[in-house]
Symmetry: C2
Subunit: 274 residues, 2 copies
């Protein structure tokens, strides 16, 4: 049986691209309209894994998605980085002067604001999902309407790209993680990255002490983010990613950190892709 | 002359409350519809200071606002923490059963989704600003329509609160900073917190070395956030807040960190409020 995978958004979305890169095309794709419902699909065992955006280079960490993974004790088994490029697309045979309306997600419209300032005849209308608009245009054979979506959406729904990479900030790298319900069996030699969470008191040098252990054990830090625990003043949670050449070094660090930090938790272990 | 201050949103917004707490009421308030225009007001010298949300306990750091401060070389001179409470409000004399429509910012609607599930007769409509809807209801004497906004908005626009604290996550603490064009003169004894930015190579232990210096100089870390520099792989920027009892300790740390870290920059020095 093929794996079943849930993604946020529909086919042609950036989550679909990330899923495709990780799993190939031999998976059944469940399309969800929110991250909450993606995770529900996983918890209810309707799917074997899900793909979730975790951070991007414009907005930083997507904290609510970290919380979904952490609170539900899910496990990260892989990651993919995508360079998010938004294209303007419509039914073939039209020029940009033929387009009267563009429907897209508010965030995509915002990211392409500068482009549309140069095309004031186009009315911008907020919609739920970027790729879903592309699908609707093809299903309804709609003329005069364009979508802002991925190259994959243009391919899947047979639309013509009228303008490439119309987002204002040309580089928007987004990190997606592949998440399962539980820690899978794995070959230690294939693992070179881990996502960790721990808590520390507001005590001078407590984070420095933790990072010293990581450094002594040859771990490289690729991400760190503190988050105050508002219900417990002066206590902080930290989300940290580390890479390593040798799994035994990670194991050594882990056994020390479990003693030094409170609520030390491994959110996932996997092969890094960047 | 009174100070002129620009805020995101209108009177009655949470930015207004933060401005009021810091400056009192003797300031001229310039209402802006985006963070970009808030900063433009400052750069064009139309105002003396601005108030900007920088992080909150649900979503984490607001990275684009960090970028606005950093890229424009602005200076943080103070901070305020607010507990964000959303109330449902309408023209006096109505009950919740009289309300047919609620207009608010998409984020506020999202945060109050669970409440409105219990009141399915109410239609939710996205709008630009939370407080502006409250103002519009009063100006138009609109019946059957409610806003989701702050206590201050209810007071200013003479609306009646139909339901208190209707957001799903009851604690949403938001940190606002007060920002000027340049570093002001200050009395060192009154400063006990600083916001720093620096860059490091992806070298094992480089962050640990920096944190060791901070710890040795008696600085407490209250926030740390890494941000990959996507144009320079393996290079990271760090946003760090530190508190200290003695300004001379901070000065000592600063002189060492300026040598150890690349592009070491002080984003602001001020008195902490939490």
């Amino acid at each position: 049986m093929d794996n079943a995978i849930a993604i946020q958004g529909i086919k042609g979305s950036f989550h679909h691209i990330a899923a495709q890169q990780y799993f190939g095309n031999a998976v059944a794709l469940i399309e969800c309209l929110s991250f909450d419902s993606v995770v529900s699909q996983l918890l209810n065992k309707h799917v074997d894994a899900v793909v979730i955006a975790l951070e991007n280079s414009i907005a930083g960490s997507i904290i609510p998605n970290y919380a979904l993974i952490d609170n539900n004790d899910l496990y990260i088994i892989g990651e993919r980085y995508l360079d998010i490029q938004h294209h303007l697309m419509a039914m073939p045979g039209q020029g940009i002067q033929d387009i009267q309306e563009v429907y897209s997600h508010p965030m995509a419209l915002l990211q392409c604001k500068a482009f549309f300032k140069k095309h004031p005849h186009i009315k911008l209308i907020e919609d739920k999902d970027t790729a879903e608009v592309a699908q609707r245009i093809q299903n309804g054979q709609l003329k005069g309407v364009a979508a802002i979506a991925s190259q994959l959406a243009a391919d899947l729904f047979e639309l013509e790209i009228l303008a490439n990479s119309i987002q204002t900030i040309k580089h928007n790298e987004t990190r997606f993680v592949i998440v399962q319900r539980e820690k899978p069996d794995f070959t230690e030699a294939k693992i070179d990255k881990a996502s960790l969470k721990f808590e520390l008191d507001h005590k001078r040098g407590s984070l420095a002490a933790i990072l010293n252990v990581m450094s002594d054990c040859q771990l490289n830090l690729t991400k760190i983010q503190s988050l105050p625990k508002i219900e417990t003043p002066w206590k902080y949670a930290f989300f940290v990613d580390v890479t390593f050449d040798n799994y035994s070094n990670f194991k050594k660090a882990r056994s020390i950190l479990e003693i030094m930090a409170e609520d030390f938790k491994i959110l996932g272990q996997y092969k890094h892709t960047k």
